[in-house]
Amino acid sequence: MASLEIEDVTKSYGATLILDRVSVAVPDGAFLTLVGPSGCGKSTLLRILAGLELQDGGRLRIGGQDVSHLRPSRRDIAMVFQSYALYPHMTVAQNIAIPLILRRLPLWQRLPLLSRLLPQARATLGQIEAEVAGAMAMLGLTHLADRRPVQLSGGQRQRVALGRALVRQPAVFLLDEPLSNLDAKLRVHMRAEIAALHARLGTTFVYVTHDQIEAMTMSTHVAVMMEGRLLQVATPAEIYAEPANLQVAEFIGSPRINVLPARVGSGGAAQLAGLALQGRIAAPAGASVQIGIRPEHLILRADPGGVGTVTAIENTGPELFVSVLTEGDTVLVARLTPDQGAGLRPGSRVALDVLPGKALAFDADGARIGFGHSVAAARELYHAR
């Protein structure tokens, strides 16, 4: 168990900058998720944490100890790979035992015959067997101990990979898109299982995914990365409600946040087509800004004189995603309960409104700026950048 600090880590391959001075620190026991579109550098950062690749610059500290230049085996980390990376010729029990055997038995004692003959090696092996049995029991793998990886389902392989990682009780767990090879149903199940495992072990987890749902549901800290830069690190709730910039706001949330161009009027009022917004934007009059509105903050009222026209309704069961064409050829998406959307049909005219205080404002470069209620918070975010 240990805290984790990543400080100014930089990495490039040739002329391509993969990581641009990435810094993030989380306390002991945190579940840090690195999330971002593919190619954003999140996997590279994880592999640098593991020591599988060396950074060009910057430091890594685990539990306060500088591990920047240590080999993977000396960093007290364990890793779960996207493809699980189980040794195909070994049984489940052997796969889980490997990290312990490699650490506790010197090379010559691992020879099949010697390990049986030497009392000391035999004692060590007995201890290892007990620990492996414990890990297998914890993950419900006991009945599969003698199977080989090919004989296992995807979910079972996933569990073996977790077992191999946790049997050593490392200071930090690294997980590289561990659920991406599973089918949708199993993914939801394993998501809960990994979160429960984290709660039980209390170890620091670093989890890489491109799936925002995984990031939001499992983590204590979400780090959004894009094009090699860390855009924001915060709790899932904060990332969603108070995104530091437009890229984060657009990446997190499904359906995607509605973004409308607007102009700042006198007194900081927002001027945009088809919508009236309260609050003052913290930008000089005349500046172009962008307004972000989450689909669930958009209110639709059936109104023959309304400015919007419903173009499509997607029914997911518990909620409706209603697309509305409004002035300026903009399409907005609203998330409604079936009751709220009961009267709407494609072609219906609607009036649009926004829940008070929920709209977000961004400047022309996408940085978050204050808007009404959240001026102070937004300023803070802006200056922290």
Binding site: P72, S73, Q82, A85, L86, Y87, P88, L102, L107, R148
Partner: protein, 307 residues
């Protein structure tokens, strides 16, 4: 209603039957060319050899007589056959481990560093593309007792090299060396393909798990990952090694005093020099049985190691 449906069902049943027949015909039609080729190229010659092996037929002779197992009995007593048999096994035992081992080593070295990968791959593979009969003349010169590259080089350090191709103790190793020279590149290519099939994440996992030394990662990942390739390469090399003929025919003609006589060359000599077709056919069957036995090892290994 059932009465109205009946004709429809009849039509449907007819359509299903027609489709089944069509599918069967298509299957037979598609496999026919391959089946014909196998019949003409493999089964009929093998069958002819099996029949000839039971006769005293001589190439060009007008008479042919059924002699039962007499040819096999003669083989049992034939010292030259047994020497050729033993020579073939010794040659195989010499060449297979060396060319498989060198092929693996070359593949590992080439795969280890991208620097010059294509160049080295080409260099090692070059001998495979060379025509062995043509290259044999080059080797004859290299191994020449007085003028040859090898003995001239040895003389520089004060060693008098043997007459590589005329010394009964050295002729098999010398021929084996030429085989290794050619086969190593082929084995290397197969091993390179095998190495490509090992996921790199396994090496990463091994490093995280604590396999710091290269030898540990080789034992944990590379060697098990190459199991199927190694079996295949060994079997293929063994089969090629059994079939050694061209270097023997071009360089030594089985000499000196049968020291480099091998099974295939012996068959050739009996059949086409002494014209004893019946006897040569009997030896061919024995040779075939040997090849088949090795091929079975491969097939069994493939079934067993399906993982």
């Amino acid at each position: 209603m059932p009465a109205e449906l009946a004709p429809g069902e009849g039509l449907l049943g007819r359509a299903q039957r027609l489709r089944r027949i069509g599918a069967a015909l298509t299957g037979w039609g598609l496999s026919l060319p391959a089946a014909l080729l196998m019949l003409v190229m493999i089964l009929i010659p093998t069958l002819s050899a099996a029949i000839l092996a039971l006769t005293d037929y001589q190439l060009g002779a007008r008479s042919i007589r059924f002699v039962g197992g007499a040819n096999f009995a003669a083989m049992w007593e034939d010292r030259v056959f047994w020497q050729a048999f033993a020579n073939t096994l010794i040659y195989t035992a010499l060449t297979v481990p060396v060319s498989v081992g060198l092929g693996l080593g070359a593949a590992l070295l080439i795969e280890a560093d991208p620097l010059g990968r294509t160049t080295f791959r080409t260099i090692y593979f070059l001998p495979v593309t060379a025509l062995l009969v043509a290259m044999a003349t080059v080797w004859e010169f290299i191994l020449h007792p007085q003028l040859g590259l090898v003995n001239v080089a040895l003389a520089q350090i004060g060693v008098t090299g043997p007459d590589w191709l005329a010394d009964p103790d050295w002729v098999l190793p010398s021929l084996g060396f030429i085989f290794v020279w050619q086969q190593t590149g082929y084995n290397m290519i197969l091993f390179l393909a095998g190495l490509k099939g090992i996921p790199s994440e396994l090496y990463h996992a091994a490093r995280v798990d604590g396999a710091d030394r290269g030898i540990e990662r080789f034992a944990m990942v590379t060697w098990p990952g190459l199991a199927a390739t190694t079996l295949f390469v060994t079997v293929i090399t063994t089969l090629y090694s059994f079939r050694v003929f061209d270097t023997v025919a071009a360089l030594t003609q089985g000499g000196p005093s049968n020291a480099s006589n091998v099974l295939l060359y012996n068959i050739y000599r009996e059949g086409f020099v002494y014209l004893r077709t019946g006897y040569a056919s009997a030896m061919t069957l024995v040779f075939l049985a040997l090849i088949l036995a090795v091929a079975m090892v491969q097939m069994r290994g493939r079934r067993g190691g399906g993982a």
